[in-house]
Amino acid sequence: MIRHRTFVFGALGAIAASTAIGSCAPPLEQPWQLTDFRVLGVTVEPPEPSRGQDVQATLAFADVRNRPVTVVWIACTIPITGGVMTGGGDGGMDGGSTSGTAGCAIVSPPGSPFPLPDLRTTVTVHIPATGGSADSSGRETVTLLGFACAGGSIGLASDGGTTPTCRGSDARGWSFTRSIRIHDPRTSIDPPNSNPHISEVRFGPEGTTYPLTSDNQPTIRVCTGRAGSATCPAFVFEVGFTDGSRETYHTADLVEGGIITRPERLTTGFAITRGSLGGAFRTDSSAAPTSTMQNAYYAPETPGDIHLVVYATDGRGGFDATDRYLHAQ
């Protein structure tokens, strides 16, 4: 009996070991870890323009090394998904093509060649009076394509193609897409959408948080033990929004039919250079539609500056981003 039980436990241990084998490998980088240059989003102002209107698109990004960032843009009247302008990898593009841009009508400024000779992080996009394309839910959109390069210069790939690349020994590039929804008063009874605004970022032990500002960059104690233990201080970040950030809009009820009124639900992304977060995203839930976005945080194991970026979307084209700093010692 004893021998039998010993074997059973041995076998269970083997099963446990086999199941946990994945955790033995070095963990892959998590989306809340800010370790390099990252595109966070694009702020479009106004986020839901009318036809014939000009909008300003501004790239929101974070770079742990504060390298200069240049961007090339293209605006199209057809929806574009991934695979059009590929990016990633140090120093430039790893491949891909621009074949997906075939039939992509450049709308801003009219007649401009590709890539647009605008290397700024903010660009003006002209919404055409006619044309445009419906996305999968039937809304007319203009799609922005961009390629952002940190610490290098943008050029075309050496293979003679039209793939943009980020040249430089310490350069990093990313391709991105962003859709701009066109407001049509003939089909929408709602006013044009507006961007949400992050009103504050709070920090501290849970229940006793305080605002983080550019003037208030707190210093925290480093973690000397396992996360969650008494020797590893635990904190929370909380993100608040202005009152008008969660707008109400009308949409079709595909199940019951008719039109329903819904509030926007915000989703907030977090990324930080040091320490560890409880997760990369927080979102309004049906149970708490206007909740404060709260995210757990454990201090880093070594002293130094800590850079937090926070970015949010209302799911209808509205976007906002901000950042904060802390110190660990």
Partner: protein, 918 residues
Amino acid sequence: MRSRPARRLFSGLLGSVAFVAAASSAHAQGGPAPFAPSHDRGANAGQDASGSPAPATASTGENAPPRLLRFVPATYPTAARDAGIQGSVVLQLTIDESGHVTEATVSEGLGHGLDEAAIAAARQFDFSPARQGGQPVRARIRYRYRFTLETVAASGAPRGPLAVLRGTVRNARNQALESATVTLRRADGTESQVITDATGTFRFELTAAGVLSVDVAAEGYRPYRSEEQLFPHDDVQVLYRLVAVPPPIASSAPPSASTEETLTVRGTRPPREVTRTTLERRELMRIPGTGGDALRAIQNLPGLARPPFTSGALIVRGASPADTAIFADGTVIPQLYHFGGLSSVIQTEMLDRIDFYPGNFSARYGRAMAGIVDVGLRSPRRRGYHAVANFNFVDVSAFAEGAITPNLSVSLAARRSVVDAVLGLVLPRIPGVGFTALPVYYDYQAVIEYRPAPNHRLRLAVFGDDDTLSIILRNPSDQAPTLAGGFSFATRFHIAQLSWVADLAPGTRSTLMFSVGWTNTDLSASEMFKFQLSSFPINARYELSHTFSRFLRAHFGFDIAAGPGTVSFSGLRFDPSSPVGDTSNAQRIASDITSFAYRPSAYVETEITPVPGLRIVPGLRVDWFREINAAIAQPRASFRWEIVRNFAVRGGVGLYAQPPSFAQSTNAPNTFFRGQLVGNPNLRPQRAMHYAIGLEHTFDWIRAAPFLRNVTLSVEGFYKSLTDLVVGTPSVQLRQQPPPPPYSNDGTGQVFGMEMLLRYRADEHFFGWVAYTLMRSTRVDHPGEAEHLYSYDQTHILTTVASYRIGWGWEVGLRFRYVTGNLYTPNIGAVYNADTFQYSPTPGAANSLRVADFHQLDLRIDKGWRFRNGGSFGIFLEVLNVYNNSNQEGVQYNYNYTQSQPINGLPIYPNLGIRGEL
């Protein structure tokens, strides 16, 4: 000097001329006299006046009756034959302590010289002596010697036998067994019995064809029963292999009586083939790494690729698992294995046969363009009872069978997983495991068989399976923060099948099968979506086989696959501008798509035997697929030619068609993309042309190396040309207005390769084989595009199996596998979607990289005990991946596809099982 095949041809032609003329006796055909002396086993089964048991009765314990070891046929007196005298002569035989017949007298005679002939023959019989208290004693028995004139033609003119069943009885060492008793029971209940000669051979000449029950018995060996179907003018040659009875007293015997039975597994079985490639049940149940599951054993045969970890898929000759059909006695079943291939959905004890066709299969099978696995359920035993129980760390199962009446028998089996209980204990305690996965499965089978007459078999079979996998996330996903809570995936089927097999007349068999069932696939993810696919499949199959002459046998049949099906979807239509995982702005939608499948088919297949040893099987199958309103005729042909003894060539060519899947062909509107359909109802059937040529050879002609007698080699080359493959339309094209159909028949491909099986047939100690496949599978997705390797291409597949019975109930086995690494498409970058906060990977060249090659050694150790009452108990330990190789199964990426790392399979993994049997 004529060659041997030429002689066979000549002899066959002579024989056929003789038959057609119907004017000659068996002598004219070179055969024996047209009668078959036999003794009536039924009479012998009783006791004589002195109380001695009949000679054929099996011995029990230390008291045993005499047992006939050598039978000598009597000479049929010419006068009696000419007068048409037949019947039985009952003899009183006295047998001394050495087994010799010392006295023979007639109790009931026939006259006409038959009494004397019977006595003369009986005096030459050899018996094992009767035993009392273990000591040989003198005994007297009653013996009925039956004289039968079996070859009187309807016209009254004598002619040769209508069919011949002949064969050899050997032991596990391939040694011929002399004096084995072979008893043949006909459909009308009559029996004949012969004794094998010094070369282990026997021969029955029959005047009536049909289904025959054959019992083979030899002292010191387990009795064996087989069922043979003979058609008029058949000359069927069989090989029966008996396994020695282990020592009767416990502790050092093999672990299970049933492990010594035989289960027919036909790898690349030639169609309508009478020569069987048989794996003993011991082989099937002792392959390391299979847990004693016979259906998992076929994964070690040539032609099957190693499936990705936890998939349990059947990858036949580089084809998609969806291109291989799985049948249970003719009814399609959705899957062969439970989750991850842990075990099969039908218990080993319920199996009668496993037919695996990696290509060039018969016209009776259709709607699949790669391979066929057809599993047959065993008939319940018609005497006594039998029960088995198994337990290991994966599942627990039980099986029982028995006879209710002599004509009515039943078998039951059930299995339930226990791995969920084990994982439920372990997973929550493992740091870093972010989920709890609880795979639960069960299966069951029940067979009720009724034989209202010897030539009729009526059977009701019910079988089913239920697999449920629930994943409980402890924390929300970083990539999708609203993804939390429970996710579940379930597949299940329940099928009731009624079949009727009848031998309507000599050479004419009718087989009818009808089944109804319910299959269900259920997938749900938190609040995100719920997908359910339900169908009520109806399968009907009828086949009529008839032998027209010794050269020609034909099969006519039809089968229908029909039934309603419903796809239900309820979930969220995501706002494309919302962040990944954000369901706040998603809209809930629901969709039901109902259809009625109707796929009738008809086929005809003939077996042409122009010369002995050569069989050509042309066939034609016509399928109609209602959902795409397409019919297709599929001509097929195969052959097998045994050029000389132990050397045969086989091959085939044929067209195989497969309909597109339900999703690919439905004309339901696409809820997500307005103006589009889910599928394309104008698709054509997918087509595959199969070509194969191969050879088989047995090395038993090498006298200098006796061990080679158990070695066989088969090699086969194959080529498949694939056309009209259904492929998806590129997403860019789907955005054109009007959008093109989402699927087209643009795909083409080819598969070619070679398979080899070098096998050592199981003897008393050892069995093993080397299976090797060299293969290449490619596809072209759209015209003008480059050819690429298909996802299931594996260049080298090597499987070696060896098992050795040490003695004292111990047996040790090893399995080593080496397989080329699976293909995958690398991601070479990503595009950030600023609307959804999600990175979309940029794929590189399709299937341009492989994970590391797979190699693994598995070990199995068995220990068994047998008991006096016939029961047994066994225990086994399997250790998978003995040297703990980190076998890469795939590649995982981080959130933005800038980092990757291998996904590895199981490390060293032990499994313990026990088995009890009554």
